[in-house]
Amino acid sequence: MAAMRRQAQKIRAPRRGIDQESIDFGITWKNLEVAFKEILTKNASKLSYEELYRHAYRIVLKKKGQELYIAVTTFIREWLEQNVCGKIRKLLVPSLLTTLADGPTGASVNERRTAGDRFLHGLKDAWADHQVCMAMMADVLMYLDRVYGADMRNPSVYHTCMDLFRDHVLLADSGSQESSLKSVLLILNAIVLEQIQMERSGDVINKAEIKNCINMLEALYQSGSETEDQRLYITSFEPDFLEASKMFYQHEGEQLMREGNAETYSEKVTKRIKEEQERCRSTLSESTTHKIEEVVELELIANRIRDVIEMESGVRFMIDNERLVPLGLLYDLSARVDPKKVELTKAVQKRIIDLGNEVNKAVIEASQPPPPGAPAVPNQQTAAALKWVEDILSLKDKFDAIWLESFRLDQAMQTSLTRSFADFINSSTFSRGSEYISLFIDDNMKKGIKDKTEEEVDQVLDKAITLLRYVQDKDLFELYYKKHLSKRLLMNKSISIDVEKQMISRMKIELGNNFTSKLEAMFKDIAVSKELSTGFKEYVASRGDPDLSRVDLKIDVLTSGTWPLSQDSSEEENATRPKVIYPPQVARVKQDFQNFYQTKHTGRELTWHPDKGTADLIIRFKNGQGSKSIKEVNMPTYSMIILLLFQDLPEDKSLSFADIQAMTNIPPADLKRQLQSLAVASKTRILKKVPMSREVVESDEFFFNEGFRSDYRRLKVGVIAANNRAETERERRDTEKKNDASRIHLIEAAIVRIMKQRQTLKHEQLLVETVQQLAARFKPDVPMIKSRIENLIEREYLERVEGSSPAAYKYLA
């Protein structure tokens, strides 16, 4: 490479202009100064950037950077003091100052607004000009910034000039006597606050103008360090603004409370919050949004929400009158200050319990036996149960709607609502919840779901499950449900087995396998029995005995223990109870079946329940002609047994009550009931009674009623009191007693389980854990647990730990 030859390689010294020669700082600076003046007076378009830059460049290169920096800042400071400040001060007309100092006296809103506007506009212009000019100067002094500034870690020229604007314009003396209006900055704050105040009271103000000035405050910093929280806006304006707002909203809160209308209150507050948000967006800074919200929240919500909720037009009024929108607003406001919404929740819960207790009370009144003399209402209890369920459900619907619309699907709120429902449904003054719900299902299964579409049926099931969720004593419900279900199954009262099974599977989801396993077993028994019946029929047919085919047998074989049969609970009673004597043709079938069953399941004992079965008889009456005298009658098994006694009896012979009892061995109470429906009920009076009276007594004589007439060919003999209905007081006590008995076992089992695991445990803890374990099934009461503990100690499962206080127990293995 030619250029690389040794001689030619001598490196050329830099140009003299750059390196060797010095330049005169004074002269070069004068040039720059003249040019800067042109810039400040907006005459820059004639200036050559290159020339100005070159001047600055050379000064810096000659290590005169510091002089230049100082000269520039001094120049700008003087400019600001001499030119800009004067202009700003001219805008501070005395009237403006006095109104700011003394409050709105004299001058009208309009005058004040115009004067304020003018000031803001002037200040904004000065600021905008300053920014533009400083940017141009910074361009010219780019080299200074990069080289001298970086070496010395000086703030850039631009930033320094911005600070100068702050110090010599904004913090300049305003000439006012008031200490709160001493500087231009303070006046600016006061004017902006005044304008905001005007806007709050409904005037229209020039937002853009304010925003510009706010932007200026955001661009400037309190001190040299340019951190976010040192912005003038944060240090100077914002605190004033928040303080002023606080005063304003305190006052407004008082005024609104005086008006005393919860609806307008929530509307107004919601509107205020929205306004403040909007103000922060359009007029002030977004960063203030959160802070001003807090002020409003504190003054208008946190301090007052409780009073608002309890106003006459408060939550109670809104719930009762379905004012969902204002209630929603109230909810939103509460949610702003309290994530748990304690006050609101409390008010709503109280209302639910009040309304629930009203429902309970109404039902209890309705289910009171009618005063003597008044006509008895049929199925009074059932009707009360259904009404109760309907009322609860409509109450639930109402609050669901409120939850959906007003409480924005708030989860915690839902939990509280549920708890309140559970509270009144399980309230100690009302103990029929479980029974009523079971009755409601029973009614629907038997009648309600007839002609309903699948969806409607689904709805009914949903409702039932919803209610079931609230019930705490699940075991009691199970007991009732079993009872009702067994009657439905045995008497074939269910409209649809499918729906029954759906119900069970829903309960399974809701309450677990444990709860439904016995119910399912009942269904299984029914299905197995059907098979048995057909199997038996085939068995009989295969034997080819024509005589036997005269009596058809449909049998339900029920696993003992699964079904709520009265005999279950009292084995000994069962044993001593006299066996019912069947008519021979029936007894044979019975014996046959027994044999047949033994071949299938050896070792199982069948206990017969004639009180649960029915029979179809075809009866020919002497009177009447042809087919009319032949009736097909469906009746309970007992009735069948009784009627068969009359089959071979001469027409004029009668049987006395005692005779019948002796011949059939039917328990007297049952017998009395049967005879009542056969001989007293007008529609099915197949027997005649002497004497004729409403009551059956032991001395009565019975004849077969040959003259029986009926318009129908098929008849059904009902059993009095076999109807399904709500329990009487006595019956319920029975049920509860039974239930308590089963609870005793559960509680003991739970205690033993817990103690076996823990070995020793304090009394309180044991109580808590026991309640916890049993919560899924029922809510045990404490005295019962205590008595069980005593009992277990007696039976040496547990022992007290000597001398411990509070009491503690130890498990004995």
């Binding site: 390689q9 010095s22 361009d139």
Partner: protein, 611 residues
């Protein structure tokens, strides 16, 4: 994540397959030319100067020699930190997870080199032309200042383009624009989808083309449109370029295209801008008038004045005007600098000072922050005027040409003798890359590590020649003035290797003083950077062979040996720098080192400094 050896081998195999199938181009082609073997040899020896020369001459730095060595591997293996740095700065390929890349890293002699390789964004070394390409591409998006001079409309879309880019990149546009240079709008038929046009424009502007084109059907239309455009614009490779899919192939294609684009721009630059530069007398330079509609689409004129003295005079004139009121006579303007060199005869300067005026495009000048600020501002230069504005630039025409060449083409091909001038110009105009380049040229061509003794040994008495190659004082001061750390380091190394020549000079004393003064608010115990650096390199120079072993003990032994040997007859005489006879080369080095260190201490004492 490091790949296992087998994986790298598999990758190498796949790469070779792809290369032989023509799907890839070889990153490291075999190069058997003499130039390349000289280059490799230089890398082996660590000869910075030759390396720089060869790189400037355009040797392929990514090629390999007969033994499959690439220059980077050689430099790394032989432990030449400076050379490795030079190669990396020159854009050598060193991809991790490739065979050659891993070799360079694995073979690195020292940790320092290894860390350098890793720090150099080892995995994605970019094409050194990338900044240029990125700038050209950014022109499509830039709206302030306005630089586009042609609006291309198709359907509803309008693209704001630059005639000079189009003319440089597409023969079709070149022809059309030569015929009608004043055109400023261009309508394309609606038949071609605008996405195709967009892609083609991105291609012309060296931008990364976004390849995914919407849905299948649409994609077909777009590709058809691109095909059509590539025929119209006479750029056959466009279609192939856009349809490439393999990642590496795409990268190679792109690199190739960027190189081609640079070459096209460079050719256009030479054929137009340099061709139309105007040499005028300085006094008339300001009157050069160019119409806005000119054949080479220039939108600004740059002026550089030949003779700096005249430049001063002229500026003085301006100053006079401005300061008239101060009634300062021109004579009062007296330079104070130590090297005041005003004695050059003014008559000679006034006789015929020349200026050169370069036509230029704002679009490219924007790469300099100086011009960017200028054209974005509200000053005179940014206003539109009837004729093109003439903007004087404070440097010589020669340097301005180098600056323009760099801005248009990324080429930095200039000799050492104007490197300092370029450095200052680049600093003035805020072109960071050019500064780095200038510093690189000075520090590589400046022969930093060739010890004066070696040179003396070779050249005998002529050793004094070094003083003529470069004025190291200028270099160090320029480094300080323009804040290029590397020059200070270079200067320290340079001086350390020739310390005996400088240690007694008055000017060296001055320099040390200046260095000390550079530390703001200097404490008694603060170090002087320059002296520290010199000491470091001095120890390098002499102790290189000793590793870090206990030199003192060794020397004591050596002295004892020498004492014993003294009694015997001396076989060969080795002399130190101050002419004493010593035992062997170790002893010589040690002696020299101690002597020079002592001198530095004396110097510092003299300056009343402690370091």
């Amino acid at each position: 994540m490091v790949l296992r050896k087998t994986e790298i081998e598999a990758a190498l195999f796949a790469e070779n397959e792809a290369i032989s199938a023509g799907r890839l181009k070889e990153d490291n082609p075999l190069d058997l030319t003499d130039d390349f073997s000289i280059f490799c040899e230089a890398c082996r020896r660590g000869d910075l100067k030759v390396c720089q020369e060869k790189i400037t001459a355009g040797v392929n730095i990514n090629a390999r020699d007969t033994f499959d060595y690439t220059p980077l591997i050689l430099a790394s293996l032989c432990g030449h930190y400076e050379v490795v740095r030079l190669l990396l700065e020159s854009g050598v390929l060193c991809e991790r997870d490739t065979f050659q890349g891993e070799r360079a890293l694995y073979n690195a002699l020292t940790d320092r080199i290894r860390n350098l390789l890793l720090s150099y964004d080892y995995s994605k070394s970019t094409n050194p032309l990338q900044p240029l390409a990125a700038h050209v591409a950014s022109l499509l998006l830039r709206t302030v200042p306005k630089t586009s001079d042609l609006a291309l409309t198709t359907g509803s879309e309008t693209f704001r383009l630059h005639k000079f880019v189009l003319a440089a990149r597409s023969p079709y546009f070149a022809k059309k624009l030569t015929l009608a240079p004043e055109t400023n709008t261009w309508r394309l038929p609606n038949t071609v989808p605008s996405e195709s046009i967009h892609a083609a424009i991105q291609f012309l502007y060296l931008s990364d083309i976004s390849r995914g084109f919407g849905g299948e059907d649409h994609e077909h239309d777009i590709l058809a449109g691109v095909g059509k455009l590539s025929r119209t614009l006479e750029i056959d490779r466009l279609f192939e370029y856009i349809t490439a899919t393999d990642k590496r192939w795409m990268r190679q294609q792109r690199d190739e295209e960027v190189n081609r684009g640079r070459d096209e721009l460079a050719a256009w630059f030479t054929d137009n801008i340099l061709k139309y530069k105007i040499n005028v007398e300085t006094s008339k330079a300001a009157d050069v008038k160019w119409d806005r509609n000119n054949g080479i689409f220039a939108d600004v004129l740059l002026r550089a004045d030949e003779d700096s003295t005249e430049d001063e005079e002229e500026k003085q004139g301006i100053l006079e005007e401005a300061t008239e009121r101060l009634s300062l006579a021109p004579s009062s303007y007296i330079p104070i600098g130590p090297m005041a060199n005003k004695s050059r005869s003014p008559s000679k300067a006034r006789k015929s000072s020349k200026s050169v005026v370069f036509p230029a495009h704002k679009a490219m000048l924007l790469r300099s922050e100086f011009f960017n600020t200028m054209f974005c501002s509200a000053f005179k230069e940014a206003q539109s005027s009837e004729y093109l504005q003439v903007i004087p630039i404070d440097c010589s025409p020669e340097v301005l040409e180098i600056v323009l060449t760099f801005l248009y083409t990324e080429k930095t091909d200039f000799p050492l003798d104007i490197a300092i001038e370029v450095l200052f110009a680049a600093d003035l105009l805020f072109i960071e890359k050019l500064k780095v380049k200038a510093a690189q040229i000075i520090s590589t061509l400046g022969n930093g590590t060739t010890s004066s003794m070696d040179a003396q040994a070779q050249a005998g008495v002529e050793g004094e020649q070094f003083e003529e190659v470069l004025d190291i004082y200028d270099v160090i001061r320029a480094g300080w003035a323009t804040r290029v750390q590397r020059l200070e380091e270079f200067g320290a190394r340079y001086i350390a290797y020739r310390l005996e020549n400088y240690i007694d000079q008055e000017e060296f004393l001055e320099l040390v003083k200046e260095s000390a003064g550079r530390v703001e608010a200097r404490q008694e115990t603060d170090t002087i950077e320059l002296i520290d650096d010199i000491r470091y390199h001095l120890s390098e120079r002499f102790r290189l062979r000793f590793e870090d072993a206990g030199i003192e003990e060794m020397m004591e032994e050596a002295e004892m040996d020498a004492a014993i040997k003294d009694s015997l007859e001396p076989e060969q005489v080795i002399r130190t720098l101050d002419g004493e006879d010593v035992e062997d080369e170790f002893a010589q080095d040690y002696h020299n080192y101690r002597m020079l260190s002592e001198k530095i201490d004396v110097l510092l004492e003299q300056l009343n400094l402690d370091a």
